[in-house]
Symmetry: D2
């Protein structure tokens, strides 16, 4: 059994042995892409129920001659023996059923589902509509929003990797909430996601013909991520926050843009002053870029990277703050942040393997 908490990687030749459950979903594939190029990682097992026996490059031909490793069915014991860390990119419910086994075997787990993101199992069960399979782990898990919880993450065995909408929304609002410059009862988040956010599946709703040249709102004021955003912002604010969250589906593949609104507590705030507050709040964060006055982020400025870009505008006529935040849902909203969490867990430089610049086109 591994002892959790020590700093690995002091020696040059050490490689983190990593396995991925759910390697053929879009977040899984992106994780594999990042891990395959990560200088401190050795991919050990790629698990896929649907494609066990096939090569990873049979499912993603893009990896031909690059990663022809065979996909396997799940074998907890073998995976545990061979791995320092396991990424579980399975549906919620499925994760909470299998994660305990890895934790017991002393393997660190970074979980992509919603299963360990809540401190209160009742909130999880209410928003997800299912019973939690391992509520005893909720206390052991840490919410892996790296920029906010870095210190808590470091020694943990189980990281709940945050949702994509959630990461975008929380990073957009954390400074305003922490610095108490907004009326927390007035928060509205109008978020737009690319279609990869819906995952890889044969579904009419996400077919090309139904999505191209279309845009829609869905699950308005009832999307699960609402509860996750509220929980985290409430902890930051040290008060109970409820807010309105409206997700939309955009006709593009990758990226989230969240336009967030809240009333300012003081009419005298200028855009520039709040930019300074944000810059200060995130002053040492490599992956968060606060835009100068007059500029706003766009999806294409962050695509395929681990960056979160934030732009601000005070609507002085209405004493309202508007924050626009962009990230790549597959990277900072999933696989990239998972690797960032892994880097923190194993004590290596946080940007290792996730420092590629965005691909503009």
């Amino acid at each position: 059994m591994h002892s959790v908490g020590i700093i690995y990687c002091s020696g040059v030749d050490f490689l983190i042995r990593a396995s991925v459950l759910g390697a053929t979903g879009y977040a899984g594939e992106e994780l594999v892409r990042i891990l395959a190029a990560h200088p401190k990682v050795k991919i050990v097992h790629l698990i896929s129920k649907s494609y066990a026996g096939e090569a990873f490059s049979d499912v993603y031909q893009s990896f031909t001659n690059i990663l022809d490793i065979k996909l396997e069915d799940i074998d907890v014991e073998r995976i545990s023996k061979d791995s320092d860390v396991v990424f579980t990119a399975l549906p919620h419910g499925a994760c909470s059923a299998i994660v305990p086994k890895f934790i017991e075997a002393g393997v660190r787990v970074i979980d992509f589902s919603g299963d360990y993101r809540y401190t209160d199992k009742d909130i999880y069960e209410k928003w997800y509509g299912i019973k939690h399979n391992s509520p005893h782990l909720l206390k052991k898990a840490v919410y892996g929003l790296c920029e906010l919880n870095r210190k808590e993450i470091a020694g943990k065995a189980l990281v709940a990797n945050p949702g994509c909408y959630t990461t975008c929304s929380i990073l957009a609002l954390a400074p305003a909430v922490a610095e108490k410059i907004i009326d927390t009862s007035s928060i509205i988040i109008d978020a737009k996601s690319g279609v990869t956010g819906a995952g890889r599946s044969a579904s009419l709703d996400f077919s090309f013909c139904e999505c191209a040249e279309n845009m829609k709102a869905y699950k308005v004021a009832e999307h699960r991520h609402t509860s996750e955003i509220e929980q985290q912002l409430s902890m930051i604010a040290n008060e109970e926050i409820t807010l309105t969250f409206s997700p939309h589906l955009m006709p593009l593949k990758r990226g989230i843009i969240a336009t967030c609104y809240a009333n300012l507590k003081d009419t005298r705030y200028s855009t520039q002053e709040i930019i300074e507050i944000y810059k200060d709040f995130y002053k040492n964060e490599r992956f968060i870029r606060i835009y100068p006055n007059g500029r706003l982020p766009e999806i294409k400025y962050i695509t395929s990277s681990n960056y979160t870009d934030i732009g601000l505008k005070v609507d002085g006529r209405n004493c309202r703050l508007i924050v626009v935040c962009c990230l790549d849902n597959l990277v900072k909203g999933a696989a990239g942040q998972a690797v960032q969490n892994m880097n923190i867990l194993f004590g290596i430089a946080e940007e290792t393997g996730i420092d590629s610049p965005p691909i503009y086109l």
Copy 2:
């Protein structure tokens, strides 16, 4: 000179003689497409400064063998003599310079620009940053949002055809404002537009490579249409309303979706109750469809049609109303509404020529 106000079209053979200034812009082309199939219209002159001398079907090859009419340079006298109505789809400023000449000549004008949408020239000049060329006409003009101003439009010589974002936003909020169910100081409109909204022009910003797989907010809390929405909603409310308006650019060609937020004055409103209020408000409106509880509009449900689709949701946890509204910016947001205005002006059935169902794909 035509006498303005009489009912034309009583006889079966009457055709409205229509001319279009700015026929080769996207709104112009769409207008020509609708007019060409309109059973009560004869297209007389199509004017285009840039393409004068070429056939309309040289610029839009789609019209080959359908509308090969020559584009002409502007000749006010000739156009006035030949036309019952002139549509001016030119840039703002250009319209206010030329429209007075047609009005003096007794021709009805339906203007696509922002030039005659304001009752107060100062508001126009502040938001548009230019001097108005014919402020004396502001009083004569009527704001052509057909569903709200039908009676005022009927006898007029000059119709200010509303903006696309504006039509969408006002129709989304008019019932809530008129019935006084929302706190008018809390209105936020998060609007998303397709790229045709930017018009037809050689511009890097609207090139395929800059727009595809991208999404951005722009002119947040400073877009001109803000003032137009505020003016109309203030008139409906009979009180001064200011609001926050955030436009976004979507990677698709046609369509606007506006997600509107406002605090409810009473915590007891249910989604169903407000749906009933909306249905009642728009009860005789052919082109407005209020969605049943649990359904929301999407761009693809209205593409290429004159419909405005509205869906509603009460966020009970935050006592907030969310209204989602979709329309086609080139049809109900421009050319379709212009024709609807023309139909009203000339006393023919309002849906004539604009009653095609949406094209789903």
Copy 3:
């Protein structure tokens, strides 16, 4: 029982009673859209196995308040009694099982599948890999490529509506083959289709994330439509033709563009001469547009219309003819041509209900 062959519609008030089997597929929906606006048609029954009991506008919300008619399960007797014509937009095999019943009941059938497009059942069975359910009808059926078979279509009970790739390819090459200006052993058709060509279904292959920003060739030199194109061109040429057909999937919704290549028999042909041959061949065809020298068709010039656009270029350096042909796979490649066939069958003006100009944007 109706007597087949007489001219209907001589009186002004006559309406063709039409039913659609498979009304909720994309070709079905497009057919319904066209029929709903057709001045000589009354839609009687819309049949959908999957959605029987729901309103058509529940499946396609775009038709809310326009066509709220209930979808029904199939009832051959009732449909036959109520209908003058039945459109069968079902999978191949399913059509050949049900069509005989309508034919026996004296109802005219326009079939969208491949089931009746062949004169030789063996060719069908070889390329489709299934047994034909009603081979006795093959002789009764007419191949409904209107521009080429108009006279044969007129009196028929059963029309085999051509495939989309097929219509595009045959119309592109018919004049060259008929006028014997090309070496028929050298024909290559490189065709590209939008995703609606794959129909409406929950399939990973046609999901937004797999299709957007992608392009691929598929079933190269083995696509079924090869045999259909060969059969028709062979009949025109009065010799056995085999050719190479390569389909591709484009990241757009509607439209086919076929780039066709063949060696010219004579080095002296100029582009202009061949344009004249094509113009002459199609001289009375409203829905076929031959482009002038120097211009080539594009998908956007025909979208949503029944037009087939053809442009030509002689590659003099290689004594080769290149023909570029575009049509909308859902209109001229399916529903539009079906209605054109119906118009011919019932003796009404061929363009009735399908004469809308293309929608450029």
Copy 4:
């Protein structure tokens, strides 16, 4: 002055000092992205006439905090002094005017334009329609198609980086031509390119609204790259080859897919045999992947990578070979191959800095 030809980079700390002329075009930006992450390169000067004085990250906000280096106006002397290699990504004509100065100063040049791709200046002047500014350099230049000319490239001062269509077409056909299995008079290349192929410019033709949901052929049988493909294939074949080349514009950003046709000299070839010939021809090539029988390449399998993917099919009914080839026009078709050339020039491992796997989504 540098002495050309020696092997640099023997020591671990050596960095190639690289400058880019035309750094803000799409190929330029992609080159900068690759160079910025290249472990053996130091970017020295980024030149942009239009944006001199601004930061690179002002033009491409994606590079904020990553590459904030100032763009400069051109200063040949200073650039020459500071650089080991200069990449010239300027329009043709402009390159041949400035490249001689760098060559004289002893700096190696990798040129992106067509200016040095021809051995015969007359062919260049005929197809490009301008006079060549430095024909004396044509003999000194090497055609930088790495897989075919690796040995010739190694010691050169001036590399003509091949065109995107050209690289795709030549790599697709080189084995068939070299092994003399096809009739070289029958070659047809039907190529499709994403919109980045047209470069970064304010142009109506490449605007989102004109390109999305559209597809077109253009410059059929008269595109410049025809001559470049013919020259290279003729050299491989050791006979004069002319061929038909038809470019198309696809509604996507990156990637080329070329479907190539040629008659086989022998009816007995099977798909598998030709696959083996291709595999053997490219047996040591890391960046060329020959697909197994039954699989074909797609744009999404190579996006953002330096790979060229090739799939084959024998159309036995017509004794014809069909080769489908995909590459990323900005990488293997421009910036990636330029860096591959640089790696060869400077004697470092050829894949350095360009070995990232494709980004599937």
